[in-house]
């Protein structure tokens, strides 16, 4: 699913989409625990999180995650958006809860990551 479609499915605001318009997201991972995010081996993953700080962006970068959804209207700081823009990570800001976002995307065919 394209990031634009994800955004319209969950009524999210889009930041820093440039260059990521054609990424096909196939999986999602919901977590506030960056330690867990760093163990993901899958690709084309969207991260759904309630943790809005600079390490959310850094962690996504290291884990090769190109799109982050911030749930419950957690707003990214300008520092976060500058870093996201610089490394090419799209940030979606969504009013829904993490559970709700996860449920909608699961229903639309987005898969969980593989657990090893």
């Amino acid at each position: 699913m394209l990031i634009n479609e994800i955004a319209s499915n969950i009524n999210a605001q889009i930041h820093c989409i440039e260059g990521n318009e054609n990424i096909d997201i196939t999986k999602a991972f919901t977590s506030d625990l960056m330690s867990d995010v760093l163990t993901i081996e899958d690709s084309d993953v969207v991260l759904i999180t309630g943790l809005a700080n600079i390490q959310t962006i850094r962690t996504a970068d290291m884990a090769d995650i190109r799109c982050i959804i911030l749930g419950r209207n957690k707003h990214p700081s300008s520092e976060m958006l500058e870093l996201a823009e610089d490394i090419g990570i799209t940030v979606l800001v969504c009013p829904l809860t993490l559970f709700h976002i996860s449920g909608i995307l699961y229903n639309k065919g987005i898969n969980p990551i593989l657990i090893k």
Binding site: M34, S35, I54, Q55, R58, T59, D61, M62, D64, E79
Partner: protein, 136 residues
């Protein structure tokens, strides 16, 4: 090629700077993306450990045509039992570190998983040294 970075304990806003930089360098060198991910995840975990658990540290990165060798040396409290610290779930992270999304006790095992070679030595009240080698 050799690179050096300073890391400040407690400063989460800068944590990951060296890892991001290394990612860019390895991309420019056309290293296999799967290997890049292993290297930078291992480095990032070790970098965050200095920020989360130590006072300050130095990262030295050596890249040649065969391998990336990273040494992280910190001044800090050290690790009393490395065997215990290497267990999944063991963590002494402060509430502040947990608020930042870390402190699950997953970092050292994750470095071990992603590095081709990992060596760790530590002296209580002096500091910790982590060596990470990945073949490229």
């Amino acid at each position: 090629m050799k690179f050096e970075y300073k890391v400040q304990g407690g400063n989460f806003s800068k944590a990951g700077y060296a890892s991001s930089d290394l990612k860019k360098i390895l991309k420019q060198l056309n290293v296999n993306p799967a290997i890049i991910k292993r290297v930078v995840v291992a480095l990032y975990e070790a970098e965050v450990n200095i920020v989360a658990h130590a006072y300050n540290g130095t990262i030295t990165i050596d890249i040649d045509d065969k391998q990336v060798r990273i040494v992280l040396e910190d001044q800090g409290p050290g690790i009393p039992s490395i065997e215990q610290a290497m267990q999944k779930g063991f963590s002494t992270a402060s509430p502040h570190v947990r608020e930042m999304g870390f402190g699950a006790g997953m970092g050292l095992p994750n470095i071990k998983k992603n590095a081709d070679v990992m060596n760790i030595t530590s002296k209580v009240n002096v500091g910790t040294t982590v060596e990470i080698i990945n073949y490229i």
